[in-house]
C-alpha cells in the first residue's frame, strides 16, 4: 500500500484507503440533483419517501443482474451484444415451458439455463477458436437468436404460475426478493473477480492476453468461462423479467436495450472497454444512476423523447467525469 503524505486531507486519505470508485460520487451528485429538482417541481418524494429508494433499486434489478455478467466479459477484453436476445429467449422459453403450472418450473429453469450455457459457450468458442472479433461474433449470435425467436414466437406465449411471481413481487420482511437477488449476484460477481484464481486470470487476460498466455494461463478457457457466466446472468435477468410480466414476449430484451445499456453502466462504473480493469461495485453504482434517473424522470413527468436525450447526455457526462483526468488517449 502506498503511503500518503501528511499534507493530503483526511478525506483524500480515507477515500484512497477504502478505494471508492469515483462513480459513487457521481451517483450521489445525480441523486441530490434529482432530489432537489423533485422538491422544486414535483411532490418531493425522492427525499421524503423511503419506499421510493427501494423502488429505485427494484427498477434497476433486471439491468443490474445482466450488467454484472457484462462487466466480467468486458474485464476479459471481450464484449457481449447478444444479452438482449438471450433475455428475450429466456423470457419466452420459460413462460412457454411453464404454461402456468407449478410442476413445470424446475424443467423450465433447467431448460433456460441450458440455453444460456449453450449461448455463452457458442460466443466463447467463436471468439477464441475461430478468432472472430467479439463485437462481430456476439452481434452475429444475437442476430441468430433473434431469428430463432421471431420465427417461433410472435407474441406473449404461455405464462408463469402464481408462485413464480414471488421472484419478481415477493417480499422477505420489508425487503423485496428482487433486491436480495441483485445483491446476491453482485456479491457472487465480486467474489469471483476479487477472490478466485479465475478472477485474477480474467484481469490478466483482459490486460494483456499474450503475457497471460506466456505465464501459463489458459486464456481461451478463461474467455469462454466469462462468456458463459455473462449469458447465465442474462438468463437470470430474463427469468426475473418474465416473473414481473407473468408472460414472456420476444421483445423484452431489445426494447429494454439491455445490450448497449449493460455496457454503458459497466463503463460508467469504471470498467475499461479495452479490458483488464473494472469492478462489479462500480457497475452497481452505474446501474443505480440509471435507476435514480428513471425515477426522477417519472416524478418530474419528463417527455419520453427528451428522457432519451437526457439519458444519452448523462451517460457521456458520467464517463467523462473520470476520463477527463486520465492521461491516456481514448479511441
Amino acid at each position: 500500500m502506498t503511503t500518503h503524505p501528511a499534507s493530503d486531507s483526511w478525506f483524500k486519505r480515507t477515500t484512497q484507503r477504502v478505494n471508492i470508485p469515483p462513480v459513487f460520487y457521481f451517483l450521489i451528485v445525480v441523486f441530490i440533483f434529482s432530489g432537489v429538482l423533485d422538491q422544486l417541481f414535483a411532490d418531493g418524494q425522492i427525499f421524503t419517501n423511503p419506499l421510493i429508494m427501494l423502488n429505485i433499486i427494484v427498477r434497476s434489478v433486471a439491468l443490474g443482474i445482466v450488467a454484472v455478467g457484462q462487466t466480467m466479459v468486458l474485464i476479459g477484453a471481450s464484449i457481449d451484444l447478444s444479452v438482449a436476445y438471450t433475455i428475450s429467449i429466456t423470457a419466452v422459453m420459460s413462460s412457454y415451458l411453464m404454461q402456468g403450472r407449478n410442476e413445470n418450473v424446475p424443467t423450465a429453469i433447467l431448460g433456460v439455463f441450458g440455453i444460456g450455457i449453450a449461448i455463452g459457450l457458442a460466443n466463447g468458442l467463436i471468439i477464441t477458436k475461430l478468432r472472430v472479433n467479439p463485437f462481430i461474433a456476439t452481434l452475429g449470435t444475437s442476430l441468430i437468436i433473434k431469428g430463432i425467436i421471431n420465427a417461433t414466437f410472435s407474441n406473449y406465449t404461455g405464462s408463469v404460475p402464481q408462485t413464480f411471481e414471488f421472484f419478481g413481487y415477493g417480499m422477505i420482511g420489508p425487503i423485496p426478493v428482487s433486491i436480495i437477488i441483485l445483491l446476491l449476484v453482485v456479491t457472487i460477481g465480486w467474489f469471483i473477480l476479487a477472490r478466485t484464481k479465475f478472477g485474477a486470470h480474467l484481469y490478466g487476460v483482459g490486460g494483456n492476453s499474450e503475457v497471460a498466455r506466456l505465464s501459463g494461463v489458459r486464456t481461451d478457457r478463461v474467455v469462454i468461462a466469462a462468456h458463459i457466466f455473462c449469458s447465465l446472468t442474462a438468463v437470470l435477468s430474463g427469468i426475473f423479467l418474465v416473473s414481473l410480466m407473468r408472460s414472456g414476449a420476444p421483445w423484452v430484451g431489445p426494447n429494454g436495450f439491455y445490450d448497449l445499456n449493460s455496457i454503458a453502466v459497466a463503463v460508467i462504473g469504471g470498467t475499461a472497454l479495452s479490458g483488464g480493469k473494472g469492478s462489479v461495485w462500480g457497475t452497481l453504482a452505474g446501474v443505480l444512476i440509471f435507476g435514480v434517473l428513471s425515477t426522477a424522470f417519472n416524478q418530474l413527468g419528463v417527455n419520453p423523447y427528451l428522457k432519451l436525450v437526457f439519458q444519452g447526455l448523462i451517460i457521456v457526462l458520467a464517463v467523462a467525469s473520470y476520463t477527463i483526468r486520465s492521461k491516456k488517449e481514448a479511441a
Binding site: I126, L130, R131, V132, N133, F135, I136, A137, L139, G140, T141, S142, L143, I144, I145, K146, G147, I148, I149, N150, A151, L260, I263, A264, V267, L273, N303, Y305, L306, K307, L308, V309, F310, Q311, G312, L313, I315, V316, V319, A320, T323, I324, S326, K328, E329, A330, A331
Partner: protein, 335 residues
C-alpha cells in the same frame, strides 16, 4: 538436361508462384461477392443477370455502402460510431417535418441536414479527444440524443410526407442509358463519394495519419501527427456520410420511425466483411464498398430463397460470423 530448359522451367514456376501470391493477396471479399452474386444470377436470371435487375439491386446497396465508408474512417482510427443509425432516422424524421410538403424546401433541408451532420461529428470528435470518453460510449450517448431529439422534434410520429425532389436521390433512376439501361442516382452518388473517400483515405497525408493514429496513437503523436484534429475530422466525415446515406435511405425507404435502427451495426458488419480491423490501423475504401455490396447481396439471396424474415436474420448472423472467421483464420496463416 540442358541449362536453358532448367532456367525456362525456373521462370515458369516463378511466374506461377508470382501469380499465386497475387491471387492470394486478393481480399476475400471479392471472391465472396462474386460467389453470392453468381448464385443469385442462377436463382433469378431476370433479376441478377440483366442490367435492369442489377441496377435495382444497387439502389438499396448504395446507401449502405455510403454509411459503411463513413464508418470505416472511424473504425480505422480504432473507434466506433454507433450514432449513424440514429442519424439516418433523424434525416428521415426531421425532413418529414421541415420539408412541410413543399418541394422548394428540399435544398435548404439538405444543407441543414449536412450542417447537423458536421455538428454531430464535431461534438463526437471533441468529446472523444478532449474529454477522453471512449468513442463507443460517446456515440452510444449521441445515438440516444439524436434519436430522442428527432422524435421530440416531430412529436413521436412522422409529420407529412417527403417531397419527390427530395426522394429523387434514393429512389429515381436516370432512364435510357446505353448499355446500363438505367442507373439509380444513388449509385452515381456512391461512385462520387467513393472517389472522394478514396482520395482522402489513400492519397493524402491526412489518410496516412488516420491509419497511423489507428495503428499506434502514441507513436503517431510523437512523430508530429495532430491526433486530436485527425480524430475530430474522422468523426465529422463519418457523420456527414451518415447524413448523405440517410438522405438516400429516405428516398427509397419512406417515412418510418424505426428506419435507421440497426444500420450502424450493418455498416460495421459491412466494414468488417471488407477487411477492416476493429481496433484500427487497417482499411480500404473499395473493399468496404464491396463489403456493403456483399452484405446486401446476402440479404437479397436469403429473400430469393424464400426464407421468411426471421430466418433471414439468423442466416445473416451465421454468414457474418463465417465470413469474419474465414478472413481471420486466413490472415493468421499468412503471418
Amino acid at each position: 538436361m540442358t541449362a536453358s530448359t532448367i532456367s525456362a522451367q525456373g521462370s515458369s514456376t516463378k511466374f506461377l508462384r508470382k501469380l499465386w501470391s497475387w491471387i492470394r493477396r486478393i481480399p476475400p471479399v471479392y471472391p465472396m461477392f462474386l460467389l453470392i452474386f453468381i448464385t443469385l444470377g442462377f436463382l433469378n436470371p431476370k433479376g441478377y443477370q440483366t442490367m435492369n435487375g442489377i441496377m435495382t439491386y444497387f439502389r438499396p446497396a448504395s446507401p449502405l455502402a455510403v454509411l459503411a465508408i463513413g464508418q470505416m474512417f472511424v473504425l480505422a482510427i480504432g473507434g466506433f460510431d454507433l450514432s449513424i443509425g440514429a442519424i439516418v432516422t433523424f434525416c428521415v424524421l426531421a425532413s418529414s417535418k421541415f420539408l412541410a410538403n413543399d418541394p422548394a424546401n428540399a435544398l435548404p433541408n439538405i444543407l441543414l441536414l449536412i450542417g447537423m451532420g458536421v455538428l454531430i461529428g464535431l461534438i463526437n470528435g471533441l468529446v472523444v479527444s478532449f474529454l477522453k470518453v471512449p468513442s463507443f460510449i460517446t456515440t452510444l450517448g449521441m445515438m440516444m440524443v439524436v434519436r430522442g431529439a428527432a422524435l421530440y422534434y416531430v412529436g413521436g410520429a412522422p409529420k407529412g410526407y417527403l417531397t419527390d425532389n427530395f426522394r429523387m436521390f434514393g429512389r429515381n433512376y436516370i432512364q435510357d442509358v446505353p448499355f446500363f439501361t438505367r442507373i439509380p442516382y444513388s449509385l452515381i452518388i456512391l461512385i462520387i463519394l467513393t472517389i472522394i473517400a478514396y482520395i482522402i483515405f489513400h492519397r493524402t497525408n491526412y489518410g496516412r495519419q488516420i491509419l497511423a493514429v489507428g495503428d499506434n496513437m502514441l507513436a503517431a503523436g510523437l512523430s508530429g501527427v495532430k491526433k486530436k484534429l485527425v480524430r475530430v475530422m474522422t468523426f465529422i466525415i463519418c457523420s456527414v456520410f451518415a447524413v448523405l446515406g440517410g438522405i438516400m435511405v429516405a428516398g427509397y425507404g419512406g417515412v418510418n420511425v424505426t428506419i435507421g435502427e440497426g444500420m450502424e451495426m450493418q455498416a460495421i458488419a459491412a466494414c468488417v466483411i471488407g477487411g477492416v480491423l476493429l481496433g484500427g490501423g487497417k482499411g480500404n475504401v473499395i473493399n468496404v464498398v464491396f463489403g456493403a455490396f456483399t452484405l446486401q447481396a446476402i440479404v437479397n439471396l436469403l429473400n430469393q430463397l424464400g426464407l421468411p424474415k426471421p430466418y433471414t436474420d439468423a442466416v445473416q448472423g451465421l454468414i457474418i460470423i463465417g465470413v469474419v472467421a474465414y478472413s481471420a483464420l486466413s490472415t493468421m496463416k499468412k503471418r
